[in-house]
């Protein structure tokens, strides 16, 4: 029987690896996608750093164990900041595409470098 911890850890690993792979691509769109995926992985990572809980109240209600509330608050902050920065980076990528005429992250098409400046 696979434990929940192992499942989550490997899942996070796969998502992070995918995100890093995408971030290393040469076009801005995959890079933005990669950043988003890494952001998701990090958010879940923060969340599980308060340990995994089953059958626990999310809030201090009644008897019984309660899940650690602090990572939930942290992850909310991280999600909000992540949304804002993702929005910004998409807009920036679009403007960069508009200014340079290519969506390559270096602002130059790899093969046709001459005269592009």
């Amino acid at each position: 029987m696979i434990s929940m911890e192992a499942l989550l850890a490997s899942g996070l690993g796969v998502v992070t690896a995918t995100g890093v792979y995408l971030m290393l691509r040469g076009r801005t769109f995959p890079v933005v996608l990669g950043l988003t995926l890494v952001g998701y992985a990090v958010n879940v990572f923060i969340f599980v750093m308060g340990r995994l809980w089953t059958n626990a109240n999310p809030l201090l209600v009644g008897e019984g164990p309660v899940a650690d509330p602090l990572p939930q608050a942290l992850v909310l902050t991280a999600i909000v900041i992540g949304f804002a920065t993702t929005g910004f980076v998409i807009e920036l990528a679009l403007r960069s595409r508009h200014e340079s005429g290519t969506d390559h992250v270096d602002g130059l098409e790899p093969k046709s470098g001459e005269g592009a400046r």
């Binding site: 971030m23 801005t28 890079v31 950043l35 890494v38 952001g39 990090v42 990572f45 923060i46 750093m49 308060g50 340990r51 809980w53 626990a56 164990p65 309660v66 650690d68 602090l70 990572p71 942290l74 902050t77 991280a78 900041i81 804002a84 920065t85 910004f88 980076v89 920036l92 990528a93 403007r95 960069s96 200014e99 340079s100 992250v105 270096d106 602002g107």
Partner: protein, 533 residues
Amino acid sequence: MNAVFAIWWQHAPVLSVVLPSLTAVVLLLIGDQGGMAAQGGSHDVGRLRWRRRVALASALLGLVLAAGMVWRASQGELMVYRLGEWPAPFGIVLVLDRLSALMVLLIYLVALPVLWYATGGWDARGRYFHAIFQFQLMGLCGAFLTGDMFNLFVFFEVLLIASYVLLLHGQGRERFRMGVHYVVLNLSASALFLIGLAMLYAVTGTLNMADMAIRVAQLQGENAVLAQSAALVLLVVFGLKAALVPLYFWLPGTYAAASAPVAALFAIMTKVGVYSIIRTHWVIFGADAGPSALAAADWLLPAALTTSALGVLGALAAHTMGRLVAYLTVSSVGTIMAGVGLFTPETLSASLYYTLHSTIVVAGLFLLVEQMAAQRGDAGDHLRPAHAVREPVLLGLMMLFGAASAAGLPPLPGFVGKLMILQSSHGLAAQPWLWTVVLTVGFFTIVGLARAGVIVFWHVQPAPSGGAVSGGSVKLLSAVWAFMVLTVALAVMAAPVKQYTDATATQLTDRAAYQRAVLGDLGNSTRPYTGDR
């Protein structure tokens, strides 16, 4: 008046964060049509004048507040400001100690002349320059004052998102190209920051820096290993901000692409990385942190010395003056980090003095370079022969002053700072390495700047006919002079400044006093939450 003073006395740390953010809101409300004023547009000229007045007044007030905080910190007071009166470690605290006060003062010493320079025309070349500038100041002040790790992350994001926009100010293809790199790199660093933070939270159960310091010292076995990994993850994050080897490659291109006032303000951004490394690796992972003590010591010094050496090599190879100054920034960060990485109070004190000096010199050089480039026609800041600048004597002397100051020639404060770093390393195992690198780097800094000076001032071609280039405006040059006066003041007042940094270093090593001040005598502390009530 007394009532105002009483409010400041009670709320000093938070006022320094609130002031720029409120100013930014006011500036947003004043509005910005953008571009109109530059073309002599109608009623936006009046608004532009108001934006400038409000921004300058706010920066001036901020400088006064910062000076007041330094005065209070120099009395030895460690002021803890509990936001919403939540007791630490449960709520967020702002901590005003000598280091924070000094860094906040440094922000405003740089920001005020830079803002003055920007009102000479740069602020009209895009929209909302002043508002974003104030948000940047807010993020910087908050990052230097907070006593909570997650709050540090939040203020990092505030200052970063403001810096993304400032970097793009004035627009243009090169800025967008470097902007994409800068933003993506910093977003990845933020992800790493969160990972490091979450790991630290998992083993310590707290985010308050003072409480974390207590918890980390008690960790044993595999938890201590986790904490050390988190410390090194954070070192990578802050190393990227500070531009340490191998994480500095983004800096030269980015700073060279930014408009001059923005690049000059960014001179302080690398110091945020330096500050955060000092905070985490001196206060949390300091010498008495049990098995996790000095987790970064093996990495910091070699990385710092390599940074210094590679930075100056980059300066030698630079093909534009902007890149030259940017590489000097990298090199100076290396020298600063060497003092931090030796982990003795004496070297830290010397490094702090050198931080003040190098930030001010680099900021001044960025502005000066643009003034020189403006008088060289098409060549701009490219290091190739062109016609002579219009005011060779004035600019030449200023360049000479800045170069001598950056390289560390006596009697300018660069010399004092480097001498302090060399002297403080006396008797340490790393002394030969440090001396070799610092002295060689100083020499090559002179060579690099002399090369630039020779090309710009002596290697001149006849001016094209009819190309009447105007001289630099007194207003713009006065900002550069302000930085030079500050440099000289730093040299003249070396003794009191050194006393202050000495006391700062001592205060940083006294972790028990810091913990007592933040957590109170009750010793409130948390533990990793495991479900028991």
